[in-house]
């Protein structure tokens, strides 16, 4: 076991009151020690992001998780706004931007479609990982290691039992990351981070 890591979950759901899956996922990791949940829509209902506060939060954590539903194959708008404003040149990237160097980054997304439709022959033509390329490359530009995403598919048809199972996996993954259970090697050659917990389950 390596050192403990601090996890920052940047959560964005503009209609959280209607959310079932993401509420269950978030509740599963809420209140965990060394896990900070930053609900962006709740904190910045008018998109007026407190950049200095966000930068400080980033510096205080080791793993950054963008947790949101998949909207138009990407994130809800506030995540983009957050990236535009917080990932500053000279702070997160650029010749003098080393603040995030060596941290881990990850996406935790939920999609309406099943995994089958996110294939070259499926209706969406591309895989979730392909759609997440901007996050991947942004993390890389910021000198972070981008981990495979934690994905919940079939949000519209998922059963309560499946939701609970999925929430438990999420909790397991997050606590595992926090407790330094995983090394970079564990994330190699897996499509989703779900696999780490699924194999253990």
């Amino acid at each position: 076991m390596t050192d403990e890591m601090k996890i920052l979950i940047l959560f964005a759901h503009p209609a959280f009151h209607k959310s079932i899956i993401n509420r269950a996922l978030l509740d599963a990791v809420r209140g965990l020690e060394n896990v900070t949940i930053n609900e962006l829509y709740e904190n910045y209902p008018d998109f007026f992001i407190d950049v200095e506060k966000e930068k400080k939060l980033l510096q205080e954590h080791d793993v950054i998780v963008w947790h949101h539903p998949f909207y138009w194959y990407s994130a809800p708008a506030i995540i983009k706004e957050w990236m535009d404003l917080v990932l500053q040149h000279g702070f997160a990237y650029g010749r003098n931007g080393f603040a995030l160097q060596g941290k881990w980054a990850m996406s935790a997304v939920s999609t309406g479609g099943r995994q089958e439709v996110y294939t070259a022959t499926g209706a969406n033509h591309f895989s979730v990982n392909q759609f997440l390329a901007p996050f991947n490359q942004s993390a890389t530009l910021c000198r972070m290691r981008y981990l495979p995403p934690f994905v919940t598919h079939g949000a519209h048809t998922i059963t309560q039992a499946e939701i609970e199972r999925q929430a438990a996996h999420y909790r397991e993954l997050i606590t595992g990351l926090r407790d330094g259970k995983y090394t970079e090697k564990d994330f190699e050659n897996i499509e989703y981070s779900n696999h780490l917990t699924l194999t253990n389950a």
């Binding site: 008018d46 007026f48 407190d50 950049v51 200095e52 535009d84 404003l85 917080v86 500053q88 040149h89 000279g90 650029g94 010749r95």
Partner: protein, 639 residues
Amino acid sequence: MHNQDFFLQALIYLGATVVSVPLAKKLGLGSVLGYLLAGILIGPFVLGLVGKEAGEVMHFAEFGVVLMLFIIGLELEPSLLWKMRRSIFGLGGLQVLITAIVITFVALAFKFQINRALAIGLIFALSSTAIVLQTLSEKGLMRNIAGKSAFSVLLFQDMAVIPILALLPLIATLGQPATLSESTLSKIGGMAQLPGWIQLLIIIGAIAAVVFIGRFMARYVFRLIAETGLHEVFVALALLMVIGIALGMDKLGLSPALGTFIAGVVLADSEYRHELETTIDPFKGLLLGLFFISVGAGINFNLLIQNPGMIFFFVLLLIVIKFIVLLILGRIFRLRKGFDFLFAFLLAQSSEFSFVLISFSKQNQLFDEKTSSMLLMIVTLSMAVSPLLLIFNDKAVTPIMARRYNKPEYDEMDEPENPVILAGFGRFGLVIGRMLLANNIKVTILDNNPTNVEVLRRYGFKLYFGDVTRPQMLEKAGIQKARMLILSMAEHDDALKVAKYVREKYPHVKILARAKDIFHTFEFYKLNVRSVQREMFDSANEMGATALTELGFSRYEAYRTARTFKHHENQITDELYEHWLEDHNRFIEETRRFSEQVSETLQAEKDYLIHESECAWDVDTLKEEALQKQQNTPSENDT
């Protein structure tokens, strides 16, 4: 009058004013009482600095009433006046009529002859325009329902002075076989000899002349003078017009006050209204003060010492009669819940016109020397007591009324378990209330303005009349089971009081508060009420953004700038609060409050940059770096 005499007099009057009035205000007695005390102080009985000429001064100072009515006229547009016709003629007319009749009968009971009794009735039916209006504006009651009603009555009384003046000589001959002597007739202003229809024509003609002058000529002349840019000429013109109208009316035997009032109304919608108002206002203030002082100086304490019991008895009797008539009429005219009492206390004194009417009656041999000085004494004392009556109303009657009317009358609460209590449903609360109701949130709304309550009930709002500062009222509104109390009322001190009480007694209730300014915000913070909204900040901030947009900022840029400014303001507020906590005992006078706030804010602002921080979308450092890279490795193709 020699120059020196004049200046000496001015010195005495002004000195007395400067000493007494602020003192009286500090003691919570109001300026009128201050002036009266100043008058008593310099009068023959105490310091003896002024003597017989006080009467003359009073006569001169009555012009202050004329100026006051002119200014009031300026604030009343004709349409507004038309709306008040019911209360002017109904309430005012009945008040004069009934009071005069009752007092006449009382006077008869005291063995006055019928004609004298009638004269006394008419004289005492009037109330003091000067005192009441001064009090109303000082206490901010001009827009209060009781204040408006009182004003209507005074307006009617001012008009009634004219026929009363005409009637007195006729009354004097009642029961006397002798016909009117020429000298009597000539004294009533030269109009009474004429046939009735001509009198009427003259009155109509005079009013028409005033309207014509105000409507067509005055504007033209004012513009001419204003264009010269000489302010003092404008002042002279304004005074000239008012004095001219007053003199003209006086010559015709009409009320100068009424004449200038009409002139004021006619000019109310002219573009020179504010300029006129500010020009005349200081003259009005000084003259009215002078008037009150001369009333005080005119109190004949020797007479008082000779018959103290009798005089006080009559003063009391007069006030009681007037009060009861006013109270009953007030109720008939739908003044309720303490407003009837305020209305009655406001008008329970006798009028400055009574001085004129009494001396006029004396000239007409209605009263002998002794009776008239007695009557003058009663008038004076009733005026002097008047501010005390209002203090009594504030301190003793209002609390009782508030308690009484918190007992359900029509304000039985049928849904006391609403989660939200909204206290104050004026301009501020209305917005909140509408938004909550539109989202199906049940709100119990409390407001202390009965007219508001009735109007809004008609639109289906569940609204209750009540004073939230009464704990019982809150309890009846269901504070025990409420989740939230929104203090949207404009009475800032009351809001604090309620917040404090609810914090202690019902700590589970979330409090949202409207604050006046930054210091008021701090008071709430101190009670651990953190959801405070400064009533002006956000709309001003929005307008600032609009200004930036109009000045060429893109709309989003202006929006961001305003948001940044607000964010920064919140930070500063928190910071200043810490300072404030450290030495909030420091005495901040109300007048210094604002400048204090500005200077503290600006000082704190120096430590911040209120511009968009370097997190913007287009960053200079990025460009620089890209350019340098290009120079170093021109062949490399960078993103």
